[in-house]
Amino acid sequence: MVSDKDVSYVADLAHLELTDEERTRMLKDLNSILGYIDRLNELDTSNVEPMEQVASRYGEREEEAGGFGYAMREDQPRPCLPRDEAMKNAPATDGTFFKVPKVIER
């Protein structure tokens, strides 16, 4: 069971603050969804490899062996996004850097 403490801990990890109302609702929803997810424990998976990616099951074999050849590209330098374009959506900049509130308390 997820507790109030767990909700606070996870919200902190996720950089969410959440109102009291949201926390109450979150507690209820997480318990309901995790209760449903618990049915995965009905399955014995001790000898089953995890599948992280479609390619990890199907793609890493050689093409001749029926794999899909997820080829890597050549590692060559290419032009990247110009600074002004990369920064044009920033909420605050000094023209060169992104500006954020003070990180270190003096």
Binding site: A11, R39, V54, E85
Partner: protein, 482 residues
């Protein structure tokens, strides 16, 4: 010109044969959007300047008499999770309300290179998280077939514009059913290609191992033409596969006599809406009439697909959405005094309830002490689900199922019960987890006149066979309806 009956091929032909111009088409579509979309809410942003610029280019090309590109003059809509250069791209989130992307998604630029005209960006569930479009940060989409009902989600806007005729075709993304489920609810064709068939470059990430870009159209052939333009290896997405792209239209129209079609019993259990059952069984009978052999089979782990999905998808989402911190782009709350406070206030203000719920769930299943119990466990069950399909596809060419357990539900009906909403994707999530292609085609109607979707799933990178079977069913059902 009746915009409601235009297909991809007929639109291109009309432009090529000078029955109309691309510019006149764009005029007509924007007039229709302005008249009809306010009641539907399918568009978030119209990209008029870009649309007219492309239309002019196509008209000049048509004047030369040269062969036009395959999608020349075809007005399309783009789900607002794909970036479009200098056009507002929001993922239907307040977080990105004022975000103008600095580059085009690969599938967007490929469609435009093929001659398509981008009319605008379509509404969806915020960051593609939802099954009804009610999670849009702006406004919900109404189903054009019945405005009191949801269009499905998350690509509800992209399904709705095709159903309403406010675009000829569109694209969406499918992570747990987000193309096929709204296609079923809106009575259009929606195709999820194999994972790695279409580039995710420029697709705002929800769950990276599950996100599939794909097309919507009025017909199976329209989705084949759209896929043709979108598909193929992209150096900018290392998960796109180097597998040759066939000419899909060559397979649309081929017969299916002798083909083996699997019907999994787990998709027809109690709880399936009787009208959906009757409709899909009718569709399967049409495939049998066309000479296919119907093979009953079992996908024994089906019931574990939704819990597996909600662990993996939310875990990946919690990581992907960490980037919305108010620093480089997107919303920033002015309230925070310290950096950490600024992050929290920004994320609290920018994200809607469902997005927060999924970030919390995903963070929880990845947190210390729970990783093995939830995340690793789900990845192991993902292998079991893949094994079910490996076994099935050793015996059959395609698998046919209902797309959804019920027709479109009413707005508000499931909005307060996240688990009930998640179960709307029960027949679609498995294909996302396994990475195989699937299509939903309209198949009969419910007693209330609502569309029903039939899903056809195929082997990895075998969209051609999926399209071929879908086309046979589409034509048999159309002939039957006449």
């Amino acid at each position: 010109m009746d915009l409601d009956v235009l297909t991809v091929a007929s639109t291109r032909a009309a432009v090529a044969e000078k029955q109309t111009t691309a510019t006149a088409l764009v005029d007509a579509f924007y007039a229709k959007i302005e008249a009809e979309d306010p009641a539907i809410g399918a568009y978030l942003t119209l990209s008029k300047e870009r649309a007219y610029r492309q239309a002019t280019k196509i008209d000049q090309l048509a004047d030369t008499g040269d062969e036009l590109p395959p999608l020349a003059g075809v007005p399309v809509a783009i789900k607002d999770v794909f970036t479009t250069k200098d056009i507002r791209t929001t993922a239907a989130s307040k977080t990105l309300d004022n975000f103008n992307a600095p580059y085009d998604a690969t599938v967007v630029s490929r469609l435009e290179e093929a001659g398509a005209i981008i009319l605008g960006k379509t509404n969806c569930d915020e960051f593609a998280m939802g099954s009804s479009n009610e999670n849009s940060g702006f406004y919900p989409v109404h189903n054009p077939r019945d405005l009191t009902r949801v269009p499905g989600g998350s690509s509800g806007g992209s399904a709705a514009v095709v159903a309403a005729g406010t675009a000829v075709a569109s694209i969406g993304s499918d992570t747990g059913g987000s193309i096929r489920q709204p296609a079923a609810f809106c009575g259009v064709v929606g195709l999820m290609p194999t994972y790695g068939r279409c580039s995710r470059y420029g697709l705002i990430a929800f769950a990276s191992s599950l996100d599939h870009p794909g097309p919507f159209g009025k017909t199976v052939k329209d989705t084949a033409l759209m896929l043709q333009a979108m598909a193929g290896r992209d150096p900018l997405d290392s998960t796109t596969a180097d597998v040759p792209v066939p000419n899909y239209c060559e397979h649309v129209g081929e017969e299916i006599a002798g083909m083996k079609i699997g019907v999994p019993l787990e998709y027809f259990e109690d709880g399936l809406d009787p009208d959906v059952r009757a409709g899909v069984e009718f569709g399967i009978q049409e495939l049998a009439n066309a000479g296919a052999e119907i093979v009953p089979l079992s996908l024994p782990h089906t019931t574990y697909a939704i819990p597996t999905y909600y662990v993996i998808a939310t875990a990946e989402a919690s990581s992907n959405l960490a980037r919305y911190d108010g620093v480089r782009y997107g919303l920033r709350s002015s309230e925070g005094k310290t950096l950490s406070e600024m992050y929290r206030r920004t994320r609290d203000a920018g994200f809607g309830a469902e997005v927060k719920r999924r970030i919390m769930l995903g963070t929880y299943v990845l947190s210390a002490g729970y990783y093995d119990a939830y995340y690793l466990k789900a990845q192991r069950v993902r292998s079991l689900l893949a094994r079910d399909f490996d076994d099935a596809f050793a015996k059959v060419d395609v698998i046919v199922t209902p797309t959804t357990p019920t027709p479109a539900f009413k707005l508000g009906e499931k909005a307060d019960d996240p688990l009930a909403m998640y179960l709307a994707d029960i027949f679609t999530v498995t294909a996302d987890l396994v990475g195989i292609p699937g299509i939903s085609i309209p198949c009969c109607k419910s007693k209330e006149g609502l569309p029903i979707g039939m899903q056809i799933l195929g082997k990895h990178f075998d969209e051609a066979t999926v399209l071929r079977v879908a086309h046979v069913a589409e034509h048999a059902l159309a002939a039957r309806a006449e």
